[in-house]
């Protein structure tokens, strides 16, 4: 019997597990995918918003600002890549200028530090990469860029080191309640718990329905991004938004990533599935046009990748946070759309507060782990590199040439508390395959290392989710009966 069972191990579930793991509690997290952070947390803009955009008085507004402050601390403690960079929202005409003023006033109402409107000259002086035809810009220094995968993984790993159990490939199919006990049935087995928290991301409305909840409808919107090679990284040093169009989406942003790339996106279109990943034309080309309008210097011939993210929207405009009124001890942390990544630690804090208020006893552990180290070979000084290789010679073998990721880092990742078991999971943990050759060179080598370290046949190594097989068999094998000839 668990004290708390969390459904979903994206950024929200991971932040909650991490926050709860400081207390004397039995906690379990059930994740539908075969790795943590594989839903909305995997594919988004990878930024921490300054907080001027949220409606004043909303949960989003409060939690965005609190969350970003907490994120800075967490990233320091858990060795997650994060960088403070400013945001610009740029305006080209009268309608957009009026919108800037509205945004500015919202920012002031939300208490966003340092937010102001800058004229064309100052905007271009602060950020020479902007389209010189702009008339004015909203400037907000309090934003940042982050590695969302590592942010979630780091919190989930730390939770595991503090005793939390994470069950992967455990899609929740039923939740029954008898007396004070929930029975949660998943694809990997059934578990009992006294409290259940819904951190289901793009599937949170479906999870809520399992306890008879209604009134929550998932209105997921997908968005496509282009990722550009590091050669484009110096073009801008800020997050750049246009003014939103008539549909109210924030529009196609241009932003550097902590990995040193540039991302351009997302557009917006409705999708039924919370795990939609398909890119489509002509929209993909339109995303480029949107990016070039803000930052004309982008060279899209240097594109290395595209991806699709799903905004886990519901019909309710704010986060949906609180105990269910029809099912006591079932807590929703649902509808966590943008700025959910920015707000995550604050959402978790609120979740803990709610659980405590409805009866969960919080006894702090006498000792718990609240630190984490990640060797990033390429970020070390020459002397540190030499020392690292002396200690572990595998740091001297570079497997991913584009991102300078060593065998030592890949082996480290495989032996961390939540073992990555797929090629893409390795990519998210240490960046191998993230670069300009997209794993063309390192893919087979990562494959070999994974099989060796996990003690399985290379035939069993997947690219990503279940069913994403890479190898169909060995050569010189008769396809009809599988035997070698």
């Amino acid at each position: 019997m668990y004290d708390v069972l969390i459904v979903g191990c994206g950024i929200t579930g991971a932040a909650l597990a991490y926050t709860l793991s400081k207390y004397e509690l039995n906690i379990c997290v059930c994740e539908r995918f075969n790795d943590v952070a594989n839903g909305a947390t995997k594919a988004n803009s990878a930024i921490l918003h300054a907080g001027f955009d949220c409606p004043p008085g909303s949960l989003e507004a409060r939690m965005n600002l609190e969350g970003i402050a907490m994120a800075r601390e967490i990233c320091k403690k858990l060795d997650v890549e994060y960088r403070d960079i400013p945001t610009f929202v740029i305006a080209f005409d009268e309608r957009e200028l009026a919108y800037l003023q509205e945004l500015y006033e919202r920012g002031i109402a939300n208490g966003v530090p340092g937010v102001r409107i800058v004229d064309r000259q100052e905007a271009l002086a602060l950020e020479p990469g902007l389209n010189p035809e702009l008339r004015a810009a909203l400037y907000a220094p309090g934003s940042g860029i982050i590695d969302p995968w590592e942010y979630a993984v780091a919190m989930a790993e730390t939770a595991v080191r503090n005793g939390v159990e994470i069950k992967l490939s455990s899609k929740v199919t039923a939740i029954e309640k008898s007396g004070d006990t929930f029975k949660v049935t998943t694809e990997s087995g059934a578990y009992e718990a006294r409290y259940v928290v819904n951190a289901g991301g793009a599937f949170s409305a479906q999870i809520y329905e399992l306890v008879g909840g209604s009134g929550l409808t998932q209105t997921n919107f997908a968005g496509q991004y282009h990722v550009l090679d590091k050669s484009q990284n110096g073009i801008i040093h800020s997050i750049v938004f246009p003014c939103p169009d008539e549909h109210g989406f924030k529009g196609i942003l241009v932003a550097p990533t902590v990995h040193g790339n540039l991302i351009v996106g997302p557009d917006a279109y409705g999708v039924e599935n919370g795990d939609a990943v398909a890119t489509r034309e002509p929209e993909l080309t339109a995303v480029k046009t949107g990016g070039l309008r803000s930052v004309p210097g982008i060279d899209f011939r240097q594109t290395i990748h595209q991806y699709v993210g799903v905004r886990p929207n519901t019909q309710i405009p704010d986060f949906v946070i609180g105990e269910s009124d029809i099912c006591p001890h079932f807590v929703n942390l649902a509808g966590i759309k943008s700025p959910g990544l920015s707000a995550a630690p604050s959402i978790a804090k609120e979740g803990v507060k709610i659980l405590n208020r409805i009866g969960l006893k919080l006894i702090p552990k006498e000792s718990y782990v609240d630190e984490r180290k990640h060797v990033r070979f390429k970020k070390l000084s020459d002397g540190e590199k030499a020392a690292a290789i002396r200690e572990n010679p595998l740091y001297g073998r570079i497997i991913c040439r584009c991102e300078t990721v060593t065998e030592g880092e890949i082996v480290d990742a495989i032996h961390r508390p939540i073992a990555p078991r797929t090629i893409d999971a390795i990519k998210r943990r240490c960046g191998a395959g993230l670069g300009r050759c997209q794993g063309g060179f390192c893919g087979p080598r990562v494959h070999e290392i994974l099989a060796r370290e996990l003690g399985v046949s290379p035939l069993n190594i997947l690219m990503d989710e279940e069913g994403t097989w890479i190898l169909s068999g060995s050569v010189k094998e008769d396809a009809s009966d599988g035997t070698a000839v």
Binding site: P393, G396, P458, L471, S472
Partner: protein, 427 residues
């Protein structure tokens, strides 16, 4: 390990090995090749088909055989080869930073440096093919490595996008291993592959080649399930109503090669956007004195035989530089410009005083042509011309310009096709 060398070659593929051997033969004493893989030979090691060496050795070899000849030559010549070692940076003063598991993080100093890092394949991300993002989409070279080096098959029903040589070779290779190759789909109205590969790898196995077609959709949540292709118009945009769907589990991409010049750019060497390689002089020297480039890192070649010859020139020049160990005084330099029909040239610059008798110039054309004249001109003067019955983008052209025709040229010369359409690409 030693820290001082006459010539350090970065990359132990065919280009690097030929350059290193040539450096030794031309008087360089201490020559080091740094290779990132566990053995020298480069990508030839996974090219187990034959057809290599017809020009250089006048016999037909497999890729590994061709590589082995140069590995042996390097051994006999006393070239030091350091494998399983990655160069992480090259400085303009010829200091090279590298790492491996034995020596850790180290630097070596060299009088001259030859860049021979080869190229990489263009990916789905670079061409932004729309659709789902399942497993089963490989670059042809990655599939070749899995099959020929690791002994694993990557799928059973295959569609190939692009008709580059590696894609064509893999169409045959996968067929021989029991896979069904459904089609090879090429965006352009002609193939960039060698004609002999079209015949021997597609036609001989009844694999259809769809010219002026591209992939418009990939379906499959987990593994590739189907691919839709469509004919494209002259602007290379898909034409609605021409779609064909293929059920398959694998897509191989052979859509171009990109010289791998990250070290080159980081060193501050001037690049040529037309080749994506360094801009070089007649002896393969880059904009940084004493740093040379050759092979596919300089421009993508069709045949390894030509890589060998080019690399020998670079290796020799590096040895001469190392022996002289001073920078040449400034001298008259001619820039080679692209004229009509020409998309790039290598070298990009000529120092006539450095050219003994004649200079070899390599270039590519923008379309398929027949019965064309190649013209080298300076201002209004035609310096020299050549006749060609057939020219194609997939076949690198080579001319030898005699020195004496350059003596009156001022600042630049232009290479063009006499009857090509007005310029599309400028220097």
């Amino acid at each position: 390990m030693e820290q001082q060398y006459d010539v350090v070659v970065i990359g132990g593929g065919p280009a690097g090995l030929a350059a290193a051997v040539s450096s030794r033969e031309n008087g360089a004493e201490r020559v080091l090749v740094i290779e990132r893989d566990k053995m020298a030979g480069g990508i030839l090691n996974q090219c187990i088909h034959n057809g290599f060496g017809l020009h250089y050795f006048k016999e037909e070899l497999t890729g590994p055989e061709y590589a082995q000849r140069f590995i042996q030559k390097a051994n006999e010549a006393g070239v030091q080869v350091l494998t399983d070692t990655m160069v992480v940076s090259v400085e303009a003063n010829h200091t090279i930073h590298a790492v491996n598991t034995r020596d850790g993080y180290f630097t070596v100093q060299s009088k001259a440096v030859v860049l021979a890092m080869g190229c990489r394949e263009r990916t789905r991300g670079a061409i932004a093919t729309p659709g789902d993002r399942p497993a089963g989409i490989f670059t042809a070279g990655t599939a070749q490595r899995y099959i020929n080096m690791e002994g694993w098959m990557v799928g059973r029903r295959v569609l190939i996008l692009g008709s580059g040589d590696i894609g064509l070779i893999m169409a045959r290779r996968m067929t021989l291993e029991g896979a069904k190759v459904l089609a090879c789909v090429e965006l352009m109205p002609y193939s960039n592959g060698l004609n002999r590969n079209i015949v021997q790898c597609l036609k001989d196995y009844d694999i259809p080649l769809y010219l002026s077609h591209t992939i418009t959709q990939i379906k499959g949540k987990q593994r590739v399930e189907s691919v839709t292709i469509a004919k494209v118009d002259e602007g290379r945009k898909p034409i609605p109503g021409t779609e064909k769907e293929f059920e398959c589990d694998t897509v191989l991409l052979s859509v171009g090669l990109i010289p791998e010049n990250e070290l080159t750019r980081a060193a501050g060497i001037e690049m040529d956007p037309r080749t994506s390689g360094a801009s070089v002089y007649e002896n393969n020297e880059t904009s940084i004195p004493g740093i040379f480039a050759c092979g596919n890192v300089l421009h993508v070649h069709d045949l390894v035989d030509f890589v060998t010859v080019e690399s020998q020139r670079a290796g020799k020049a590096a040895a001469i530089y190392a022996a002289r160990n001073t920078e040449a005084s400034p001298e008259r330099t001619l820039t080679i410009r692209n004229g009509n029909g020409v998309t790039y040239t290598v070298p990009q610059r000529i120092r006539p005083a450095q050219v003994p008798k004649a200079v070899d110039v390599f270039f590519r054309v923008n379309h398929v042509y027949s019965n064309q004249q190649i013209v080298v001109s300076s201002g209004d003067n035609v310096c020299c011309k050549w006749e060609r019955a057939h020219l194609a983008p997939g076949e690198m052209e080579h001319i030898v310009i005699p020195c004496e025709v350059l003596k009156d040229a001022r600042d630049s010369i232009v290479i063009s096709l006499a009857d090509a359409e007005e310029k599309e690409i400028t220097a």
